[in-house]
Structure formats: structure tokens, C-alpha cells
């Protein structure tokens, strides 16, 4: 019988190089500096997290009708709780808020239909961009089918924030594409008009544009012709983010190799066909992060309408802070607003990452 060499089984790795211990050693305690940093971080967490939890959850008061109800040392969430409807709908009449809810449910359903394969995406898009806004407008404003009219000055709260945000986003995107194409076109006059527009808007802060929208536009219109402040502010926000959008999209257009333009020309496509079918789908995909960042910026910038006297989510909270019944609950209001804005913005940025992954067609060289 031949002797076969049988290696003895390998020893398990030392306990210090696997499992939790190894992870801690490697990530937290690998060098003296690292140990100091870990200690420091733990100390910062010790200083911030327990008091925050104590303030925000353990010692907090959740219900009550005035400041007097909040006897604990923690947060007074009763303030947010009682005024929740106001934070959501602003000064919209409380018996009419179902109209806002209905519009919200409608849009969620409509957008949800995109996932149903049997429904034509084209018709759905047309419904969402053309029919839905008209329906929603009449739902919000009333004055038709026996709905009680509600002036736009009473629209407010999160409702107004989302309204400004979505209309701004939907309107500024195509405008931004047009401006970007204009800036890259070889027609000198069209090009310079686009450049002047984009650079002027980008050079000034949004607040000046808001002031222009609320103070200056009436001066530029003939007497008697005047339109709603909400609309003016919306135009301001849309033009502002369209200029930024244009620059982002221009970046994408520049990144498309010249061969793609030439190939489209060689196929005999017209300018618009080559743009819509060949260039833009590639260019827009490249700059999704930039586009979504512009959207997020726009959403955050809607808070500026408070400065020209409209009560969006931040504005209505600012207004509620002056209520003598609830003095000293400023922090709670701001924390609530911050939380809502954070959810929206963080959600948008995560969603953009998901789209990016979905549209990744694998042309990347590894």
C-alpha cells in the first residue's frame, strides 16, 4: 500500500483576524491616531445622541392644546400635532382640504399606472402633463361645479411647497433643454440670446428674482393687466432653475462624442429628430445626478417664497411660532420642517441613484 501524503487540515485563522474582533481592530483601532479618533467620535456621539433621544422621544409631550400642556423637559410635539393640518394645507379652508388630498391621490395613481404595461405611456404622459394640471387647478381653486372658490393666497403649507416644487421641476426641465440646445446651436443670434439669459440668471441670487417677480413684473405690464402672485413667483422659480438646468444639460451634450452627431446627420435625420432620438437620450442619461441635484436645489429654494410673503411649509411654521399660545416651541417647528424637507430631498437623491443603475447600459469600460 502506497503511502499517500495527506496534508493535515489547515488551522483556522487566528481569532484576531476574523469576525467582529478583527473588524473592530481594523476599522477602529488600527493605529494610535485611529484609537484617538474612535474615542473622540464615541465622545461626540455620547454628547449628542442620548440627550437628543431623551429630548425628542422619552421626555416629549405628544398631545395637548397649548404650551401649558408641555410640562416635560422634552420636546413639545403637541405643537406640531395640533397644527399638523395647518402645516400641511396652510390657510386652505379646513372643510375643503379633501380637494387637495384627492388631487394628491389622483397623481399618485396616475404615476403608479406607469408600471402597468398595458397602458400606453404616451397617453399617460399626456394625461399627466396636460389634463391632470387642469383638473388639479380647478380642484384647488374651485369656482366650478359648485366647488367653493379658494384664492391662491390661502394656499400654503406643505401643499404649496410641493406644488411649487413639482410645477417648477416639470416646467424648468424642457425649458432647460431648449436653452442648452440654443447655447450649443450654430446660429449666432439664438446662441447669444441663450447665453445672455443663462449667465444673467446664474449671476444673481434667487431672492433678487423673487423680488423682481413680486415687485417689478407689475411695473412692466400695462395697467389693468396683472396676474396672480403665485404665478409670478412660479415663473421666477422656473426661469431660475431652467438656467441652471441648461448648464447641466450642456455638460451632457458636450460629453457626447462628435461621431454620434455625425452619425445622426449621415442617417439623414433632421436637427430635431437627431436631437430627440440620438443625442438627448444619451446626454440626459449622463447627467442624471446633475439634473436631480438641480431639482433638489429647486425644492429647497421654494422656501424663499416666504420672503415675498407666501406661506409655504417654512412660512406657515414661522407664522405659527408667533402664536402666543405656543411660545417657546420654535425648535420643534423647525425640526419638523427640517425632517419633511430632508425626507423629500434625500428621497429624490436616492431615487436618482436607482434610475442611474436602471439606465446603466454597460458601455462603461472597466
Amino acid at each position: 500500500m502506497a503511502i499517500v501524503f495527506k496534508p493535515s487540515p489547515s488551522l483556522p485563522p487566528p481569532s484576531t483576524s476574523v469576525g467582529a474582533v478583527a473588524w473592530i481592530r481594523q476599522n477602529l483601532l488600527s493605529s494610535p491616531l485611529n484609537i484617538i479618533l474612535t474615542m473622540l467620535s464615541l465622545y461626540i456621539m455620547y454628547l449628542t445622541i442620548p440627550p437628543l433621544i431623551e429630548w425628542g422621544i422619552i421626555n416629549a409631550t405628544w398631545t395637548g392644546s397649548s404650551r401649558a400642556a408641555c410640562t416635560g423637559t422634552g420636546a413639545c410635539w403637541a405643537f406640531v400635532n395640533t397644527r399638523f393640518d395647518q402645516f400641511m394645507y396652510g390657510l386652505y379652508p379646513s372643510e375643503e382640504t379633501w380637494r387637495v388630498n384627492l388631487a394628491a391621490i389622483l397623481i399618485v395613481l396616475l404615476v403608479g399606472m406607469f408600471s402597468i404595461k398595458m397602458i400606453s405611456k404616451l397617453y399617460l404622459s399626456i394625461t399627466i402633463t396636460i389634463i391632470y394640471p387642469i383638473v388639479a387647478y380647478f380642484l384647488f381653486a374651485g369656482g366650478i361645479f359648485g366647488l367653493e372658490p379658494v384664492e391662491t393666497s390661502r394656499w400654503g403649507g406643505l401643499f404649496l411647497t410641493v406644488l411649487l416644487g413639482t410645477i417648477g421641476i416639470v416646467a424648468s426641465f424642457p425649458l432647460g433643454i431648449l436653452l442648452a440646445l440654443g447655447r450649443r446651436s450654430n446660429m449666432p443670434i439664438a446662441k447669444s440670446i441663450c447665453i445672455i439669459f443663462i449667465e444673467t440668471i446664474r449671476a444673481v441670487p434667487l431672492i433678487t428674482i423673487m423680488f423682481m417677480a413680486s415687485v417689478m413684473i407689475p411695473l412692466f405690464l400695462p395697467d389693468g393687466l396683472n396676474f396672480n402672485k403665485l404665478l409670478r413667483v412660479l415663473i421666477g422659480i422656473t426661469l431660475f432653475s431652467a438656467a441652471y438646468m441648461a448648464e447641466v444639460i450642456r455638460g451632457g451634450l458636450q460629453a457626447i462624442p462628435k461621431g454620434q452627431y455625425e452619425a445622426a446627420d449621415a442617417m439623414g435625420l433632421t436637427y430635431w429628430k437627431s436631437m430627440i432620438l440620438v443625442i438627448l437620450p444619451q446626454a440626459l442619461k449622463l447627467v442624471i445626478p446633475g439634473i436631480v441635484n438641480t431639482f433638489i436645489g429647486l425644492f429647497k429654494d421654494t422656501t424663499l417664497v416666504y420672503i415675498v410673503g407666501m406661506f409655504d411649509l417654512l412660512g406657515i411654521i414661522q407664522l405659527a411660532n408667533h402664536d402666543t399660545k405656543w411660545l417657546g416651541t420654535t425648535i420643534e417647528g423647525y425640526v419638523f420642517a427640517a425632517f419633511v424637507y430632508w425626507i423629500f430631498c434625500f428621497g429624490m437623491s436616492r431615487y436618482s441613484m436607482a434610475i442611474e443603475r436602471k439606465l446603466e447600459t454597460g458601455h462603461k469600460r472597466n
Binding site: 446660429m187 441670487p205 431672492i207 433678487t208 412692466f220 395697467d223 422656501t303 424663499l304 420672503i307 424637507y341
Partner: protein, 391 residues
């Protein structure tokens, strides 16, 4: 023989060149017409309301106080002076904001890349929280929730000669005495000496390859020479200390809460964006560069300083420029908490009092336009200086 048809002559309307000319003429006509229409309306409206145009109002007395002014200003001064005060306030908050935002941003960006898991997580939380909350909300938070909750002057927090209360931060105010000119002269002289030292060290290094700790020595030179000048002049600096009386703190240098709130919010908010830029910049330098530097035997410190950072900077500069521009423009949000910067003073109070909408808004847009242009020119110059010179 030739069956090839000559292309039939088409209408000139199908010619791309002609079309683009026609389109552009139409576009130009439209823009000119809209502008003309708007301005004729404006003229009519201004005439109707009896508003005279022009900048003569800048010479009239303003008649309103400005809380924070670095140059002397009283209510009797003109609108022009008020404009100047506001302009300086805008510049001060922008420059300080850029300074702090850069420091915090770089620290946070590096922390997010740290090998230490906890540090990286904490930095991520900081960045993701602050950049997803509107700046205006953050300014309100600092101003109305944090600084307004500080104790009244009577119960101020004290730390040495510093006081912290509702009305701001009080610190000793340095006041120059006779002979302070000598110190300034010494300081300027020391800067020249330091520059000369750096130039010499660089030349010597290219000639002989010997390294000299130029920057540290230059810093030392500045400190030593300035201190000697300070001593020679007989320490010509006195401090105006803030004094706590029964109900108030008087004297010293005051940083009002409006200023502090806007500065904190602006710098921490912009820092969260700068941190991401720093991180992306450093990640963009390929690992091969670090390996190459190591195989040359460079130490970790030198690798970072001479190999990774210069290449990362090149990627970071353009987005950094736009962040600095954003910060300068966002300083206008100070108007919301009555920090007297350009928008608050010119487009707020001045516009309300004089009704000169076109002039005031135009003035503001002009200033911000110039500011944007200056920062972007400077950063473009720096970008060019840093960019890769390819053969």
C-alpha cells in the same frame, strides 16, 4: 450619356442656411418687440405713478439706522453711504463664509474618506443631513431657535473676557495706539522676506535637489519680524474689554446674533457640499498614483502632499468655484433675519422708502453680477495655473 439628373432647384425655403437666418431674424424681432413692449409699459407706469427714474436718490439722506456697519454710518447719511455699508457687509459675510466653509468642508470630506469607520459614518451623517435641508430653514434655526434662546445679558455666559448672550458675542476689541504704523510696516516687510525665502528655497531645490522647509520657516519669519516690530514700537495695542453691568454688557467688540446665525448657517451648509467635492476629487486620483509614489519610496505624507493632492485639486477647482459663487449669492438670505446686507438694505428698506424699484433691483443685480464674475475670473486663473500642461 449622362443620365444623372441634375438636382432640381428647390425653393430657397428648404435651404438650411436661409432657414436659420429667417428663424434668427424672427427670434430677434420677437425679443426686441417684447423688450420694447415691456419698457414702454414701464415708462407709462412710472409716469402714471409719478416715479422719476435715475440714481439721484443715492444722494438723499437715508434716515434709517443700520445695525451692523464697519464704516461710520448714521441715519443722516445718504442712501449711497447705506449702499456702501451694505456692500461691505455682504463682502464680509461672503469672505468669512468661504473661509470657514472651506475649512469645515475639507475636514468633513477627508473624514468621510477616513479608514476609521465611526469617523466616516459621522461625517456622512453631517453631510447628508445638512445638504438636504433648505438653507433658509437653517438660518432661521440658528437665529430664532438657538441664538434667541440664549440667556439675557444679565445671565450671560462668561469665558475670560468673552461674553455670550442673546445680544451676541462680546469679545475684547483691539485698539491700535500711536506707533502701530511701525508694526504694520514690520508685517509688510516680513511678508516680503518670507516670499524671498520661499523663492530662494525653490531655486536652491531645483539647482541642488536639497530640500528646505520653506513654508514653516516663512511663517516663522513673519511671526518673528512682526513681533520684533511690535516690541520696538512698545506694544502699541490696547484692548477695549467688554464690561458686564447690571442689565447689559457694554464695550468690546460685538458680533450680533444676525451675523453669527448667517455665518454659521452659510458655512456649515456650504461645507457639506464642499466635503462631497473634496471626497470626489481625492477619489478621482487613481490608486496607481499612490502605488507609484510608494514604489519611489516617498513617505505617506509626501505622497499625499506632492502626488495626490495636486491632482485632486485640479478636479476640485471648477465645482469649488461654483460653490463659492453659491455662497456669495446665498449670503443674500441674511435679509430674512435682518442681517443688513445688500438685499436687505437696498432691495428692502431703500426700495420701500423711495419706490425706485428698477434702480435698486438693477443695482443689486449689478453688484452680484460683478461679484460672480470676479470670483469666477479668479478661480479660472487659478484653474489655469493648476491645470495639466500637456505637450
Amino acid at each position: 450619356m449622362s443620365d444623372i439628373k441634375k438636382p432640381t432647384k428647390k425653393s430657397f425655403l428648404y435651404d438650411a442656411g436661409t432657414r436659420s437666418i429667417i428663424f434668427q431674424i424672427l427670434l430677434l424681432a420677437l425679443v426686441v418687440f417684447v423688450c420694447y413692449y415691456l419698457f414702454s409699459n414701464l415708462q407709462a407706469n412710472l409716469d402714471n405713478r409719478g416715479i422719476s427714474t435715475g440714481f439721484s436718490f443715492l444722494n438723499q439722506p437715508a434716515g434709517f439706522p443700520i445695525l451692523i456697519h464697519l464704516i461710520s454710518y448714521t441715519e443722516a447719511d445718504t442712501y449711497g453711504r447705506a449702499f456702501l455699508v451694505a456692500l461691505i457687509n455682504t463682502f464680509v459675510i461672503s469672505i468669512l463664509g468661504i473661509f470657514f466653509a472651506t475649512i469645515i468642508g475639507v475636514v468633513m470630506g477627508l473624514a468621510r474618506l477616513s479608514k476609521n469607520w465611526l469617523v466616516a459614518r459621522l461625517a456622512t451623517v453631517y453631510i447628508e443631513t445638512l445638504r438636504n435641508i433648505p438653507l433658509l430653514l437653517q438660518i432661521f434655526f440658528w437665529y430664532f431657535a438657538v441664538l434667541a434662546a440664549l440667556p439675557s445679558p444679565k445671565q450671560s455666559y462668561e469665558f475670560a473676557d468673552f461674553f455670550l448672550n442673546k445680544r451676541g458675542i462680546y469679545s475684547p476689541n483691539p485698539i491700535s495706539q500711536d506707533g502701530f504704523g511701525i508694526v504694520i510696516m514690520g508685517f509688510i516687510l516680513s511678508i516680503f522676506a518670507a516670499i524671498a525665502l520661499i523663492v530662494w528655497a525653490k531655486k536652491r531645490q531645483t539647482r541642488t535637489g536639497l530640500w528646505f522647509p520653506a513654508y514653516w520657516s516663512a511663517l516663522g519669519t513673519i511671526v518673528v519680524i512682526t513681533f520684533i516690530a511690535f516690541a520696538v514700537a512698545g506694544f502699541p495695542l490696547e484692548f477695549d474689554l467688554p464690561v458686564k453691568s447690571r442689565f447689559n454688557v457694554t464695550g468690546g467688540m460685538v458680533l450680533p446674533p444676525e451675523f453669527v446665525a448667517v455665518l454659521i448657517a452659510l458655512s456649515t451648509y456650504t461645507a457639506s457640499f464642499i466635503a462631497e467635492i473634496v471626497r470626489a476629487g481625492i477619489l478621482s486620483v487613481s490608486w496607481g498614483q499612490t502605488e507609484a509614489a510608494r514604489s519611489l519610496g516617498l513617505s505617506d505624507n509626501i505622497t499625499q502632499r506632492l502626488v495626490v493632492l495636486p491632482q485632486a485639486l485640479r478636479v476640485m477647482i471648477p465645482p469649488l468655484t461654483s460653490q463659492y459663487l453659491n455662497l456669495a449669492k446665498n449670503s443674500s438670505l441674511g435679509a430674512a433675519v435682518a442681517y443688513p446686507e445688500l438685499v436687505a438694505v437696498v432691495m428692502g428698506t431703500t426700495l420701500n422708502q423711495t419706490g425706485q424699484a428698477i434702480e435698486t433691483i438693477g443695482l443689486c443685480m449689478l453688484v452680484y453680477g460683478t461679484l460672480s464674475l470676479t470670483i469666477s475670473l479668479f478661480m479660472n486663473w487659478y484653474n489655469k495655473k493648476m491645470s495639466l500642461i500637456e505637450r
